[in-house]
Symmetry: C2
Amino acid sequence: MEVRGEFPVFRRDAECGPGWERRREAVVFDSPYLRVEEVEFVTPSRPGGGVEWLVVRRKNAAIVAPRLSDGRFLLVRQERLPVQRALWEFPAGQIDDLAGSDDPATILRAALAELEEEAGHRLAAGGRMEALGYFFSSQGFTDEHAYLFLADGVEEIPGHDGVLGRGDEAIHEVRAFTVGDLRRMIASNEIADANSLSLWARMSARGLV
Amino acid sequence: MEVRGEFPVFRRDAECGPGWERRREAVVFDSPYLRVEEVEFVTPSRPGGGVEWLVVRRKNAAIVAPRLSDGRFLLVRQERLPVQRALWEFPAGQIDDLAGSDDPATILRAALAELEEEAGHRLAAGGRMEALGYFFSSQGFTDEHAYLFLADGVEEIPGHDGVLGRGDEAIHEVRAFTVGDLRRMIASNEIADANSLSLWARMSARGLV
């Protein structure tokens, strides 16, 4: 499958540039879902080190904006436990292969899987994935980052069982929205998650919407 | 001081709608900076409860896009420890008053303080703050949210000591960028944090850039 666009990946240690170092680190909380580390950093402006920081580690994610042939975009409405709301969002999911979570092929597979599992759609003939880089969700306390894609030209999967999301997810609805709808939902705070807003910013800056 | 625009605030429990409940919660990690809670949820689609989830709690934040009278925007270049990079971002900071962190007056004060502390600027005569709602940084694992503002018409603070950021922050530089510059930096992945991208999406959807 062809992917259009550069595909920068985030390599925290390999590409952080001179002057950065983790001098000492300890896991202070651990679970299968997130880990909290206490780290002493050396940074370009603080070459003596001594900067202690709590860092939350989490699996990376892939976010997909699925565009139909008529130009409308699909959003899913999903229950989000920490904020106690069902939010309208672009389909998103974690990249389960922790070891390979910054490997382009793994990321792309995860993005296509989310399109299928959360939205019940796939690339149509002639459809293509456009890679739009990544973003950091909250760079002050976690290195979590998510890869952004436009899935341009999607179609419903025939015979899809209609069950959306995996076991621990509850997706209420999938619906197609025009670009004007999305703009109004972003302007009004109805679309309010970093995944969808960041993907919109990238598409908008690149003239794709 | 006048603030233009609606000012929606996030009230997690008060406005979560019917069907949501936290049935049981336990703090499994605590610190002055972040807390991890293990929570059993009841949700609209899972009225029987039994959904266990780890939720990270953190102070909320205010993000400000400072616009000069010539139309350029200020960005700060700040060391971000978890991602081991210095990133170009809109000025951002946590709202230190945890109790009042979703109170409009407190949020606005925090936004103006960040403009001053991180960018060395303030509203000029005739300048105004425009409230652009809030966003969730990573709604799958934290209820952290950040309030977004356009500070339209800012000026350098005369006699500012030139020291930017607080004790635990390292800001390398403040620089003015044109809208075209910002668009290129967003498109190319150079601007890559949820704060700046979400603020851009809101400004763009509202026709402010």
